[in-house]
């Protein structure tokens, strides 16, 4: 992004004073103009038209287009000697959505393998801080939740999916409590709720400011206490197709002993999460190490349609400084509790509770127009006025936002005394694989849930809907997929779809050197011996020599 020099950090810090009242600066542009001018999704120079596959003709970010139109990492020869394991349901991804799907599928009687690239729970679910939406308050209804979700998504969401999700809401909370999850309660033991940006009622249930972490804790325990087969360090490198082109399993790469395993399954549930580690437009990200969009790529190759590929969420409040923590998320809960955003001149420039894309665009505008706070070349941001919040609600940080205080400790800044420098961070992929209310994609046998799926959030997601989505659709897909275990088996299972891909790529003149899925971010450092691809080559050479 273009950044013009704003107020220097030290100058802004010494001028800063926590204050009880600050008038909101009148809005200059209307929101649409603001978005078009400053939201990264709208930068035409970063977009590319997709030429190959079911979304041909759609436009999306160049980095994503490159991965969608890249060659596969493996060839049929790589499967020679690869053991075949059979199961009913294969869940790819060990985050909240994957665990929920696996638990429900197992409970329904299916044999389940859950494969995850890193370890169970290494996911963006644990990054979710703000909470989970469910219309449980007396003053609230699923209809209002539905309206809020559609409106915040600029009416691009699929109504059927949103309706399914908001209706599931209260039951999802009940299910989570049954699994053992804790929520913040009032003195009578009722669930506390707060309001999310862009919504019309108090609807977010939460536990401190690490709701996702608490959710993952119980889901992980539940999975480990069940007889679901959990495969750690086993990223999926390709899906398998049967003779009719239906999904028939996946090829997993076992990172521990560097070998491939073919898992032949009646149904596959992709729950691989988002794409933050692609660092679109050079933005920092709040996502975990493994969020490289693998599921999108794999599903696309098998012929699944994707949607809203040009729409990503940049969370307004990512930490901008210190550098080693850049991109770390500060929960929206801080803003919904009443924290202000201030520019370099100490002015409130936007209503903090507008939808995330608008707030993020407003921050980018302040930085671009020289009203930000500059700390060194290229690092710019605005204040998150936490001392002001503490002044108006003494003790609130300690009580409600322990994770924020912990982040401050790591950064060497005390949020109750000094404001935090923040800048939008790449947070969420709004679109994804097209699914129906059962989580089924357009490819028979293939399901997709969680952040990798699309259609639920339209072009912008509101706080708390992500955690609701993963459980709601995770359970739906788990149940539906488990019911398919009685289908007759696949006649022939293989990688035939890759020939089609390679033909289309060659005919469209795409470079064949690029390989996808990405599996690990570009910044990943491996020891020489453990270099992911290098090790495979090494091993292959050794075999040939023998």
């Amino acid at each position: 992004m273009t950044v013009s020099n704003g107020t220097p950090y030290s100058e802004a810090l010494s001028a800063y004073q926590a204050s009880a009242a600050r008038p909101l600066k009148p809005a200059g542009d209307d929101t649409q103009t603001l978005l078009e001018q400053y939201h990264p999704d709208y930068r035409a120079d970063t977009l590319d038209t997709i030429k190959v596959g079911p979304n041909s003709g759609d436009r999306c970010h160049r980095q994503l287009a490159e991965l969608l139109q890249a060659d596969a990492r493996i060839d049929e020869a790589d499967l020679a000697g690869a053991p075949v394991v059979k199961t009913d349901v294969l869940v790819i991804g060990g985050g909240g959505a994957g665990c929920a799907a696996a638990l429900v599928a197992r409970q329904a009687g299916a044999e389940v393998i859950l494969a995850t690239k890193l370890r169970l729970g290494d996911s963006n679910t644990v990054m979710a801080e703000g909470g989970i939406q469910a219309s449980i308050e007396k003053s609230d209804t699923p209809q209002m939740h539905f309206d809020d979700t559609l409106k915040a998504g600029h009416f691009n969401a699929e109504r059927e999916l949103v309706a399914a999700m908001v209706k599931d809401g209260p039951d999802v909370i009940r299910w989570l409590i049954q699994q053992g999850m804790q929520f913040d309660l009032d003195e009578f033991g009722d669930l506390l709720t707060r309001r999310a940006g862009g919504t019309s009622a108090n609807r977010v249930c939460y536990y401190r400011d690490y709701t996702g972490l608490e959710m993952m804790r119980v889901l992980r325990e539940a999975v480990q206490n069940s007889d679901i087969d959990v495969w750690d360090y086993s990223p999926a490198v390709e899906l398998l197709a049967n003779e009719s082109g239906h999904c028939a399993g996946a090829v997993l790469s076992n990172l521990k002993n560097c070998s491939y395993v073919q898992v032949v399954a009646k149904t596959v549930i992709i729950a691989t999460g988002g794409i933050g580690r692609m660092h679109l437009n050079g933005f920092p990200t709040s996502n975990h190490f493994g969020a490289t969009g693998d599921g999108l790529i794999l599903a696309y190759r098998l012929g699944a349609k994707l949607r809203e590929l040009d729409s990503f969420q940049y969370h307004p409040t990512g930490l901008a400084w210190p550098q080693h923590l850049a991109g770390s998320l500060i929960t929206e809960g801080v803003r919904s509790a009443g924290t202000w955003l201030l520019n370099g001149h100490g002015e409130r420039f936007i209503d903090e509770l507008l939808p995330r894309d608008v707030v993020a665009a407003a921050i980018l505008r302040e930085c671009a127009e020289g009203r930000g706070i500059t700390i060194e070349d290229g690092v710019c941001g605005v204040w998150l006025d936490t001392p002001g919040l503490e002044l108006r609600n003494p003790g609130i940080l300690q009580q409600r936002f322990p994770k924020l205080l912990n982040l401050g400790k790591k950064a060497g800044i005390d949020p109750s005394r000094s404001p935090l420098l923040i800048y939008p961070t790449l947070h969420y992929q709004n679109g994804g694989v097209v699914i129906d209310a059962n989580g089924a994609t357009t490819v028979p046998g293939l399901y997709c849930v969680g952040e990798a799926s699309g259609g639920i959030h339209g072009k912008n997601r509101i706080m708390g809907n992500a955690l609701l989505e993963i459980i709601s659709f995770g359970r739906r897909a788990g149940e539906h997929a488990a019911a398919q275990r009685h289908n007759k088996g696949h006649k022939q299972v293989g990688l035939e779809h890759l020939s089609r891909l390679r033909r289309e790529l060659t005919i469209s003149g795409m470079p064949m050197e690029r390989k996808s899925p990405m599996l690990f971010p570009d910044c990943a450092k491996f020891d020489d011996d453990a270099d992911y691809d290098g090790l495979r080559r090494h091993r292959r050479n050794k075999v040939t020599q023998e």
């Binding site: 060659d71 060839d75 020679a80 690869a82 053991p83 293989g494 390679r502 005919i507 064949m512």
Partner: protein, 415 residues
């Protein structure tokens, strides 16, 4: 693609189930000549050198001659074999859907030549579109004026019937097709008696592939010399090659009989995918000996391919490149045969099953040397042990892969 040498798949013939359009495209002229001189048909076919294009390459006139010579039965049957179910073959469905009248006219001329009065279009039930197109086309014929003329020359009433087969691969075998038409499970019969003497309900029966029959109207119309001129070298006519696998443009290509394999792959298939090296070609079935890169120059006609110890078969060419596991492919094909075995001959029933088991064991990295030895053993003791040729086909592909790519099998073993 140049249409110069296209006959069956020529644009003008692909009119679908529309009899008027077919007549407008010079259809019916062959039939008119046949009606004028039915006794001249077999000599003409002989001169043209038409052969069975379903896989055998047997001279068509001989087969017809046997049936025509049967004078002791008034009822004679023609089974137009469209059961195609083998991996990599997809020519019949194109002919049936896009040029159904071509097949019907060819079958009618054949009936006139041999005195046949029951024509059965025997079609794989998985090809619902082909069946619909044929039903529509047949009803158009039955309503047309041609029927009266045909029956007059034939001297009997003629029956056209579209019959979905049972969908078993083995149902494409000649005698199995006869069983199927009689309403039974398609168990191949022992020979003799040959179908020409005793086929459907004990009557003389002729079985021809859809592609063979489709050629007949054109030979009648344009003459034997024209047909001879279509082929390259000593071969005559054209062949529809079904090109699949690791090439850029897979598809059905109608080319002069005798077109070299390299021309098919490079000029029509657009070359190997990703410019990889050719590893092997599974031909027509895939129940034949593999072709390898040294066979790239082979002209694709029946004799030349046979000289390389393989067979053209249905014309299916499954091309695989370096980077494809031979064991995996062979394992897939053999388990296809194991699945397809009708089970009446124990060597085939247990042999294909056991071979498939051993192959998949080796392919998935659990095979031992004893398994490989057992596999080789099967290749020597089983051939010829089945009534039909299915078992032999399965063994042939296994044996030749063992011959050419033994190192791949060895590599996959757990020593």
């Amino acid at each position: 693609m140049s249409q110069l040498n296209q006959v069956l798949l020529h644009e003008s013939n692909r009119v679908g189930a529309d009899l008027e359009a077919w007549f407008a495209a010079a259809g019916g002229q062959g039939l008119a000549k046949a009606l004028a001189a039915p006794e001249a048909i077999i000599p003409l076919i002989r001169e043209a050198g038409l052969r069975g294009l379903g896989g055998s390459g047997f001279p068509t006139y001989k087969k017809w001659g046997f049936v025509a010579a049967q004078s002791n039965s008034k009822e004679k049957y023609l089974i137009c074999n469209g059961n195609e179910d083998e991996p990599g073959t997809f020519k019949d469905r194109i002919l049936l859907q896009q040029a159904p009248h071509q097949v019907i006219e060819g079958a009618t001329i054949t009936a006139l030549a041999c005195g046949i009065n029951h024509i059965i279009f025997y079609i794989n039930p998985d090809q619902q579109k082909s069946i619909e197109a044929m039903r529509e086309a047949v009803s158009q014929w039955q309503a047309s004026e041609q029927i009266a003329a045909i029956e007059k020359v034939l001297g009997k009433t003629i029956e056209y019937r579209v019959l979905p087969s049972s969908g078993h691969y083995i149902g494409g075998e000649e005698t199995a097709a006869i069983e199927s038409v009689e309403g039974k499970f398609p168990f191949p019969r022992g020979k003799p008696p040959f179908p020409a003497e005793s086929g459907v309900h004990g009557c003389p029966t002729l079985i021809n592939n859809m592609e063979t029959l489709s050629n007949v109207p054109h030979i009648l119309r344009n003459g034997a010399e024209w047909f001879q001129g279509l082929g390259l070298g000593a071969s005559t006519g054209t062949k529809i090659y079904c090109l699949t696998g690791d090439v850029l443009y897979p598809g059905a290509y109608e080319l002069p009989m005798g077109t070299p394999l390299s021309t098919l792959i490079n000029d029509y298939g657009g070359g190997m995918l990703l410019d990889k090296k050719l590893k092997a070609v599974f031909t027509g079935g895939p129940s034949n000996t593999l072709l390898t890169p040294k066979d790239l120059d082979v002209p694709l006609d029946y004799e030349s391919v046979r000289e390389r110890q393989s067979s053209l078969g249905t014309g299916a060419m499954i091309v695989i490149s370096e980077g494809t596991g031979i064991v995996k492919r062979v394992s897939e094909y053999v388990s296809f045969f194991a699945h397809s075995s009708c089970g009446q001959c124990p060597p085939c029933k247990t042999g294909t099953h056991y071979a498939a088991l051993l192959l998949s064991k080796i392919d998935t990295g659990q095979g031992s040397r004893a398994d490989l030895d057992a596999l080789e053993n099967l290749c020597t003791i089983l051939p010829g042990a089945g009534r039909c040729h299915m078992l032999d086909g399965a063994l042939k592909v296994m044996e030749s892969s063992l011959y050419h790519f033994r190192h791949e099998y060895e590599q996959a073993l757990v020593l």
